[in-house]
Amino acid sequence: MGLINYFDNFGGGAYTSDVPITGVAISGPSNAGINEPLSLSATIAPTTATNVTYAWEGSPLNDGEADVIYERVFGNELAFDSQIISLTASNPVSSASDTHTVAVWDYAARGVIYDIINGLSSLSNTEKAYTGPVYAYKRWTALRPDFLTLFKTTDAASEDTIRGFEITLHNGNIADEQIIFREGDGRGGIQQTILFNIYGYFTWNDSDKSEIIASSIVNQAIYALDRDDRLHDGQQFISAANAQLIAFEPWLFGSTLVHRATIQQAVTTYFYNGGTPLTPDS
């Protein structure tokens, strides 16, 4: 006689008592500079999730930590554009992912200053009408009309005006340079203080009392620079000086008379000392 066995409802799989991950979030700067170490952190949810492995940009780095710091150094082989950093946190029963977009600049501070000036939020409607494009770098064109177009806007009276900001390096932009060993890991590098000039252009309009409006906008820009944690909290940059208005003057922008304000912002930051950028886990 043979054997006949019947079975039903087969189940099974990987068994674990691990707490599943419901989410992971990357936090950290959204601007990076070449050879300036960028530090990002991951926060897992729930914090009781167990056996978590973090794979930043596809590379497993750290295991079993609830919050993980990840350091990335962009080398100058990169195009100056947005880079997306990915993170997948996994444990045997679950996984979650997040991405973080970083704009790569020559100096991270340039991007931060751009974000601040471009994002001035305290302006009145009158002041907003006096703003124009914000450029993160010094603009130039071969033909003057093209150049004027970069800053040309149309005001409420349908007249062309010149308005806007440019963020550029000050002549002799490195105000100070020292060899230092970074706090924490003792890694050698260079501490530099970079000087940025932020030029504001505002078409002169006597009937609008344009000087007062322009001055108010500039003051609010300085206030925003001085109050911004990204520049001053000591996390991404070693330090930042208070912004200074070093000139507010009549200026011929092409053939247009404008108020030109020059705000100077010094930012002290840390660079790896040249050579091949460090790999993320070195």
Binding site: L3, N5, F7, G11, A14, Y15, T16, P92
Partner: protein, 181 residues
């Protein structure tokens, strides 16, 4: 510790035919027709000495794993058993390895290492086996545990042992055999 922690993989919900997609025969299943599905139940029809043996080939599972099944009948022939398998490697080769939890028609249960010459690691007995009962098997680290659930009852641990011979990921499966004396 609760059992099981994993989901149903197959309810065998076809009227008849070979094992559904996701299953393959192991090296031990020497008669391909020994394992079929009939009346929405997995069926092993085995002559003396033969083995019906299939594994869930759709995926391997990490080392800590479990499987369980509901009995549509009990092994009614002397010296016959049904079994669950964990951490199976090389399932279709003579080098097949892993662990097996067997339940015999005489209510003996045991846990064995599948290898050349199966090694019995632990032997116990269960008070009863009936249609509708559940049999479960879990390996966590080096700990192997066999569970039983009466049709209208709760899962309970029947046997447990430790072994470090097979430690990695692998397949899971189900088997029946009529042992030749």
């Amino acid at each position: 510790m609760s059992f099981p922690e994993t989901n149903i993989l197959d309810t065998f919900s076809i009227d008849s035919g070979p094992p559904p997609t996701g299953w393959l025969f192991t090296y031990s299943d020497v008669v391909a027709t020994a394992t079929t599905v009939s009346g929405e139940l997995l069926m092993h029809i085995i002559a003396g000495g033969d083995t019906g043996s299939i594994y869930w080939s759709a995926e391997t599972f990490t080392a800590d794993q479990e499987c369980y099944i509901t009995l549509g009948s009990t092994p009614i022939v002397a010296d016959s058993y049904g079994a669950l398998m964990l951490r199976i490697t090389d399932p279709e080769d003579e080098t097949i390895d892993g662990y097996k939890a067997r339940f015999f028609n005489n209510l003996d249960v045991d846990i064995i290492r599948i290898s050349t010459g199966d090694t019995v690691l632990s032997g116990e007995s269960v008070s009863s086996l009936a249609t509708g009962d559940g049999i479960g098997f879990r390996v966590e680290g080096t700990t192997l545990t066999l569970f039983h659930k009466p049709a209208a009852g709760a899962w309970a641990q029947i046997a447990q042992t430790t072994d470090s011979s097979v430690s990695g990921a692998g397949y899971i499966g189900v088997e029946s055999q009529l042992v030749l004396e």
